[in-house]
């Protein structure tokens, strides 16, 4: 039986561009049809920005790879019109257990907060994730949106001047040239584009190897995340068990630094490890295995002239905390509306500097969290191990140290504190929705708050009057009028009003709060809009 990731989804087809005497110019070329590149292209196409995605392959990614998708990325996917298939297929989980040596130290419940459309997390194989994104591309094409996906198209050369980039693309029919006003490089941690441009990618190397074995098995284990520190079946190392759809289980063994990769990847050696962990009588089919090492690093800034980097191409973290794909989706969420305004001539090119500022801030937060998890999982000194073990030993008996147990701090959305785009704050209102924060979902009449926003600037009013539309130099700000009379469960009060009697929130196209006041003031709103578009 062939698996999804063995079937060409966007096979090479000769493009008319290849027969032109002079290179065809495109608005945006996205390099890489992974989760981040596809999300970027869908976002732009939905805003009628013509976009061509080129990828040297023609299939979804090989093996499960990223499997854990957090709430904010699911909300972004809802905005992109493809959240439902992901959540319908995905495995929703809330419970986790931590083991140390032979004992269960404690269990935890992520206790998802009520009043949100989407769960805290789903587990879903990256190949499904990419497949649903490709499905969405096809849907948009059928609706006449300007999006093209070219498989078997590999970028060989890139140069740029102040108006755009020149690309040489290799294909099975030989090379051809393209021009692009903008290039978005989503070509992964090894980013060939970054290398062609000679840009630095520095950070910290972790001397460790991890073996992933994704197995298909009928198992009785519950839908929980199980993490082992120093278990009998993998002494001195860690291990992880986590469920994916279709009875696929992610099993992750820490191996240490000095290993023989080829030896470890032999099926008989993986089999030995699995049986030591799960029992001699398990039956399973090995779907995918891989050994990975990781680094925590990022580029100095995420755009260089007309070339913009997103996802792993711009920043790389350890897998602990599911901060790779999840943060990449927040990159394109941040980027697409800015690029749209620049292309339409409504915002200055310097608005892209705020993409650097905000997403470098996000990357640093992810790298910090991910490095701390790694230091807990793999203590780097004798004293570090002594404290780590002390935390685990105490946690079996006392609640006191459980918050220090760090087997990955799971991805939460980034608040752009200190962003140059942030406008005024109102102190009477809740901290979690301060300027720079992503909107916190809440039930509103007829559905969910996050489904009512996105793509354009909005003025959300609660118990306050304002015009239905405010025009700021050709940018339409639409009003979303809410009332606490419709807020029986108190979510709006808890998440947006706080101690204020009424509220006016200026919301960016990426559903982040730009500014907020306790009353409507046209002059203040207009100033905040101009600030939020970098003017």
């Amino acid at each position: 039986m062939s698996k999804i990731f063995e079937v060409p989804l966007y096979p090479y087809q000769r493009s008319a561009d290849q027969d032109q005497a002079t290179p065809v110019r495109h608005k945006v070329v996205v390099v890489g049809a992974g989760p981040i590149g596809l999300a970027a292209a869908i976002d732009l196409a939905m805003q009628d920005v013509p976009v061509v995605v080129v990828d040297e392959n023609d299939k979804v990614s090989w093996g499960s790879r990223a499997i854990c998708f957090a709430k904010r990325p699911l909300e972004i996917l809802d905005r992109l019109g493809c959240g439902d298939p992901m959540v319908d297929k995905g495995v929703i989980w809330n419970l986790g257990k931590v083991y140390f040596d032979e004992r269960q130290v404690f269990g935890f419940n992520l206790l998802p907060e009520q009043g949100h459309k989407r769960p805290a997390f789903i587990n879903l194989q990256q190949y499904y994730f990419e497949q649903y994104l490709v499905d969405r591309v096809r849907q948009l094409q059928a609706a006449g949106k300007p999006i093209e996906l070219r498989g078997g198209n590999k970028v060989l050369e890139l140069s740029q001047d102040e108006t755009g980039a020149d690309l040489t693309i290799g294909t099975p029919d030989g090379p051809y040239r393209l021009k692009a006003d903008w290039v978005i490089a989503c070509d992964g941690a090894a980013s060939p584009i970054r290398n062609m441009m000679g840009l630095d990618f520095v950070g910290r190397v972790f001397e460790d190897n991890f073996l992933i074995a994704d197995v298909v098995m009928e198992a009785e284990f519950p839908t929980e995340r199980w993490f082992w520190f120093d278990p009998p079946f993998n002494r001195g190392q860690s291990a992880l068990l986590h469920k994916q759809p279709d009875n696929v289980w992610r099993i992750d063994f820490q191996l240490g630094w000095d290993i023989d990769r080829e030896e470890e990847l032999k099926p008989e050696n993986i089999d030995r490890r699995l049986k030591a962990m799960l029992g001699e009588d398990i039956s399973y089919e090995l779907e995918w295995s891989s050994i990975y090492t990781f680094q925590c690093r990022r580029m100095d800034r995420f755009h260089e002239g007309r070339v913009i980097f997103a996802g792993d191409a711009a920043h790389q973290v350890s897998p602990f905390g599911a901060r790779g794909a999840n943060s990449g989706l927040q990159d394109t969420d941040n980027l697409a509306w800015k690029l749209k305004l620049i292309i339409d001539g409504k915002a200055p090119v310097t608005l892209l500097d705020s993409y650097d500022a905000e997403r470098v801030h996000g990357a640093d937060e992810n790298i910090l969290n991910s490095s701390r998890s790694t230091d807990f999982i793999t203590p780097k000194s004798e004293m570090s191990r002594i404290f780590r073990d002390a935390v685990l030993d105490l946690s079996e008996r006392y609640e006191a140290t459980r918050p220090m147990v760090n087997s990955g701090r799971l991805s939460v959305p980034c608040t752009y504190d200190g962003s140059p785009l942030n406008g005024p704050d109102c102190e009477a209102m809740p901290e979690r929705t301060r300027p720079g924060s992503p909107l916190v979902d809440a039930p509103v009449p007829g559905g969910w708050l996050l489904d009512r926003t996105g793509f354009g600037f909005e003025l959300m009013t609660i118990d306050e009057t304002a015009p239905d539309v405010v025009d700021v130099d050709g940018i339409e700000i639409k009003r979303l009028a809410l009332a606490s009379a419709d807020d029986a469960d108190g979510y709006l009060k808890q998440r947006y009003l706080g101690d204020a009697k009424s509220a006016v929130y200026l919301i960016r196209p990426d559903q982040h709060v730009a500014a907020r006041w306790d009353h409507y003031d046209e002059t203040a709103v207009k100033a905040a809009v101009l600030k939020a578009i970098g003017r």
């Binding site: 404290f387 002390a390 030993d393 006191a400 140290t401």
Partner: protein, 64 residues
């Protein structure tokens, strides 16, 4: 803002010191190190105040 109390604050200092040593009796160096680490974590949690904890860490490092 609270400050780290660096004045004498334990009633019966000799008894406390003896009790501190006695829990280490018969332990190997590794077991004692582990016990000390657990003790630090429990006491730190009891203090809770992040500023006081930072002051204690600096004071213990003999850096202030």
């Amino acid at each position: 803002m609270s400050a780290l109390n660096t004045q004498a604050n334990i009633k019966g200092p000799d008894e406390f010191y003896a009790e501190l040593l006695s829990v280490h009796e018969g332990l190997s160096k590794a077991e004692s190190d582990a016990l000390n680490a657990r003790l630090i974590l429990l006491m730190a949690n009891h203090i809770g105040d992040r500023e006081v904890l930072s002051q204690a860490l600096r004071a213990a490092a003999l850096k202030d």
